[in-house]
Symmetry: D2
Subunit: 431 residues, 4 copies
């Protein structure tokens, strides 16, 4: 990792890195990005961008799995106390933590849209001094929350790009930065689309850093993005004293256990990348009470939307069957989901030309590197429906540990390279 | 339910009912009975009883499954803010929430020991107006905590008994009231015994109300108490991104699920009442992270200590096997456990004579009514080892809903009857 | 084991032992007792008893779980080749292997009914020389079939009793011996009752040897017999090539596996002896074919008919749920089942008087000794419905290994004692 | 299906179809191909080929999962009674059912090796008149055994090829036909390789018909063959009476059930085709006996040998863990397994040229068509190790139902096309 050297000789720290470190210290999970979004809005408004935030940028009713009100309120207060922008904060109340910023050139022209995702993950960050954020003092100050996927870097790059574009605005056309909440779980983009924020975009780009690609490289199109469906199954049984009347109870955990095994036993589909996972189970209080409630979070993924729908249907059947097996009922709720999208050749070529300008070497990602999901596909599909073109690129950044793990960290040297890439792409698209 | 009529004509509410309702509003789970214990200590000291509290009444090192320090501290603060006695509170800090109070007669003589358990349960109390505590305004003020087993009534009766005995002290001998924390889980009595608080007791009695017996009746001996073992199993796996590298993870929830099914499949033992239950499972954060940790709370019970030990051993083997099946490891910790005890004929006869004096009708509990566990057996065995006698009685009190359920409530008319019983038993034992 | 000495000084081997050893060599499972039943019929007819066999003694339509025709035919041929009685054999064809024999006294009088069950078990008998039947040359000649419950002894005693009664017939009344097939599985008695064979019985007795009771003792009433339900669940899925199209298959074994775990996880019922067991699973052919069919044999038991019905209903729900979980269907068939019955005091007293005459010491069986099931209860209930009295006794016979295991063997010294008991009971009942 | 027309105008039925139908009526599972192999040997010897059979063609000690001796003996007798060749049959006794036949040209030259697999599957063939073999009278005469993968066609083509080559022998070089037993299960080729039968081969070809390819097409190389491991796990518990002493038993079926679920829950491996399947479970006899033994057949597959080895290791760990969970032990035996192989370009080109000569259209198989396994890879790897080249081709033949299902049937018109292909390839290779 060579992040320190990347800053260049004696100069000030680049904006992207400065912002990234600040955000890394203050991670916020999906729909609670109050501090992040309000500061982004304030900064870009200050740079002269036209800023929409809150319900103008996201459709509240289309958000899935919004945290319960007490959690939103607590996160809001915490943000208010730790540097959120007081002007923009109220618009975000209730979890409408989206920001859309547009810079218009003097003359009309094409519209370029770029996505930056802002949310962190519910992971405890490593405190080991070998972990750079711990050693350099920007480890998360919020126990159990961590930027472990690189979204802090995505926002940092977008902010520096905004500064550069403000410094030298395009002559024609416009640029729209889509700062989305809740990428994890596939919940933010799908709710921003109905707010119309991508409707006018002619060329859409999303970039994700890391993904196993070396610093200095670029994968100009990651077509292997997986569709996914995220479900919350709540098993309902009957509570009873486990010693005095176990037969009067119906143990919701038995349904959760059977469902966990059944979901993981869903079949492979030849010729397709698929995934199934139960990621969270919780139910019950103490060993002497038969628990009447258990919650299971699970997901299915596949490299084709239809295959994923098939897996989701099988998972739902398994949940129902597991409930019936143990005399329970179960409610199954879709709490997130993304579809797949394919890149358009013109968009890929634009990115490849920008990579050349930024000095990035083009690479083909290994098959297994492209198997994540990203709800940027909701923007891509919308833009394509309206006649525009889109791509999703992978920006090389060496990793200290895999995405979504407590020691995740990326080579900050990738950030200035990424800003160069984005700037070149925008200027290329706007002619 | 006829609690209101029980108060008699125009007189004031009996102490037992008044205390019961106050405690019901302020329930505290095991080892956090700071408000309860401090108020009991203060009240009895004010009545002239010799009071020991904290580490004089309980051996800190023998406590199992003490809540983590932040929870203890939060409960301590909450108690301090809601009426705990400031003089006695500090002695209880850290969860040493036991109180032992002794009233000595003028002359030496036999020692009678009575147990009152103080802890509540992690249950959300019903807010339905049909639920008496909700309707009458003494529903729990602490969300998720509830006196759902009747321990509030036990303490109420013991406090009123103390008042009566102070008003007319015994001529000879002494009475020791053992206010124990953490009966649920089988953790409090086993830690008070090593503090020596039951060593001098000649006749020990414990009374539990409810248990399916009608108000106005008494079961003079509940020999069917079950031994139990309560275990916490923590499965350790490997975290990974569920889509990018599921094969690099080891999902701790799979072990928890297999163990849940395996524990419930432990065999029946002909000729014995046995129980097995997984009461709580929790693990993981979101569906896209393979969880590296899952916790399972479970218990075994049997009507003989040795049979319970056999079941516990089988459960431990099942936990290890389930871990191995999914490439995990597992730590298994005993977090509570009680043994069985048999009543002594002289103690039973004492109780039966007191029942006659109190106007209670003797009943034989149905087989299925006596199948709970109670760690009063730890006191019983200690007293018996030292040459004393002991019994455990069931006091009739009609129930609105079963023990350990959100609508549990008992007929308060049972409380004055219970105080009469205890007073008669004490005076009977002391001659 | 002292079977050899039991024969008395130098005299010939008692009939009961001689018959027992012959039957032990030629065991026949339920509804294939062709050799056994035909030889019994021939022998008793030769002694002058009035004999009904086949459809006169059993209602073919009421038989559950009759083996498939090819198995019946094979067993029939084998019997024909190994000593079956050619005169009586044809009546039994198709599995109607019941025999009812009556001896009438000169004058009318009460009717005594005795049950003897004839079937063996699908168990491979031990060939170890330490196993008496192996050492003494009467080990099963049919691989995989074994008299491992003592029914060979039951028939032997009934035959010797018939000889003694023929030698000195009762003056008044009559004796009916009910030789039933298929006691294992609870299938024979329930089909003989509709044939009317127990309708005239005034006093009914059934005796089972072994059960953990020492030779020379008698338990005059085993009230703890369990009701049971035996089910065959057949899961239907979809076959597919396991490598080329696993997703097109629905693996019936997954349903069988989930059902196996779920049935074993059915709850304990406080205050009741209950049992649940999956005893057989089979499905599939080779590892590369997704199996479309799996069969599960299971049973529930309880010490009360209603409790057993509750468990059976839960088991059926679990089977349906397990099928649904894995996209399967399931057929569930009742293939056997017995109910409970209580002994009548006059019948118990008759047995106790006979025990005294036979020099047997009365014992109370340990709780765990009476927890088997026996479909003699179908005869008991029928006799009781018609105004008669009934009991079921346990005859002491020390065992080399438990019932239903490959080294099961009993002390043959118990057989002459049993014949003495039965003779005394019959003569006592007939005055 | 146009099999009838394929025979051409008025002429006799081609040898390939005639042999195919005869073999289809007399299917024989792996290592019991006594009739098939002996007739092949006799016929080719009669044509002047140099024939090795039995232990000269296969290494007995390297065979996995040979059927037990009684099954071999029964199959041998059946073959002897139904047209096996009496001269060649004895050499095959004990399951050494391999035949290697060589035709040498006048001059030395390259050696071409072709594989033909002979075994059938344990599947009940459909008797529906809509199923061509049923309608046309060549349905299997052996209940429960069926040529459901097309190996009957493979042998038929090889035999007709032998006739054609005998009729017009190559001038130089030689042809070796490798008639292998037990392709299903991956057991035959791996045992023929140590007998040296492929050591001299310069160019090796294997052809499989069907696979979803239309009649008249050819896939010249199926590189997607999967490696696999086939395991037999035998769980050992303790038998007991399920009602009297369930706690003394250890139910082997519980281990089998838990293992079945665990094997199916093995993780997906990103970037790889993998498979897991439990295809057979059997254990126990009746519901009232706790079964002490249960057998599970399972397999893992992957598109890389190393990935399959990883899955196999995980499956073995799961089996051990499942056993431990329920107090059992387990023996795990490898009963079959194939590795992967890659085609060599010269061999592929040879096949493609032959296809052109035979009028077959080249197609690229869909990804999901190539995901079977075939132990021809053992021959391929051996030939490649010795410096030769190899390929494995798919011959189009429309199917009535998928491979390994009861209504499987293929378009016989493919057979003459296949013989044309093979003849062209052989003559092409020998110049």
């Amino acid at each position: 990792m060579s992040g320190r050297q990347a800053n260049g000789g004696g100069g000030a720290e680049p904006t992207a890195i400065r912002w990234r470190r600040d955000l890394h210290r203050h991670p916020e999970v999906g729909f609670t990005e109050f501090r992040t979004a309000s500061r982004v809005a304030a900064h870009l408004a200050g740079l002269g961008w036209e800023v929409r935030a809150g319900a103008e940028a996201i459709s509240p009713a289309h958000r899935l799995n919004v945290p319960p009100e007490p959690e939103l309120a607590a996160a809001y207060s915490r943000a208010a106390d730790s540097g959120a922008d007081p002007h923009w904060l109220p618009a975000l109340r209730g979890g409408n933590t989206a920001v859309v910023a547009t810079l218009r050139g003097a003359r009309p022209g094409p519209v370029v849209g770029l996505r930056a995702d802002m949310d962190a993950l519910p992971i405890h960050e490593s405190a080991d001094p070998a972990h750079l954020p711990a050693r350099e003092g920007f480890r998360s100050v919020h126990d159990g929350v961590m930027h472990a996927c690189g979204h802090d870097g995505h926002v940092g790059m977008a902010v520096e790009l905004a500064e550069r574009l403000s410094a030298r605005p395009p002559a024609a056309g416009s640029v729209t930065l889509l700062f989305q909440p809740a990428e994890e779980g596939g919940r933010g983009a799908r709710a921003m689309v109905p707010a119309g924020v991508a409707d006018a975009v002619d060329t859409f780009l999303a970039v994700h850093l890391g993904l196993g690609l070396p610093t200095g490289t670029l994968a100009s199109s990651l077509d292997g993005l997986l569709a996914n469906s995220k479900l919350r199954a709540t098993f309902h049984g009957v509570s009873a004293h486990a010693a005095m009347a176990p037969h009067e109870g119906r143990n919701a955990l038995l349904g959760a256990a059977a469902a966990t095994l059944a979901v993981h036993a869903l079949p492979r589909i030849p010729g397709h990348e698929t995934r199934v996972a139960v990621g969270r189970v919780s139910g019950g209080t103490s060993s002497n009470i038969v628990p009447d409630r258990a919650e299971v979070l699970l997901e299915t993924r596949a490299d084709e939307g239809a295959v994923n729908e098939d897996l989701e249907a099988r998972a739902r059947a398994a949940l129902l069957g597991a409930a019936q097996t143990y005399g329970l009922t179960v409610d199954v709720e879709l709490i997130g989901g993304v579809t797949t999208a394919r890149a358009d050749r013109p968009a890929v070529e634009l990115v490849e030309a920008a990579a050349a300008a930024a000095g990035l070497r083009l690479v083909t990602p290994a098959a297994e590197l492209g198997v994540a999901s990203d709800d940027a596909t909701a923007f891509m599909r919308r833009v394509q429906e309206r006649g525009g073109v889109a791509s999703y690129a992978g920006l090389g950044a060496e990793l200290a540990a895999p995405h979504h793990t407590p020691r995740f960290d990326f080579d900050e040297a990738a950030l200035p390279l990424g800003v160069d890439l984005l700037e070149a792409a925008v200027r290329g698209a706007l002619g």
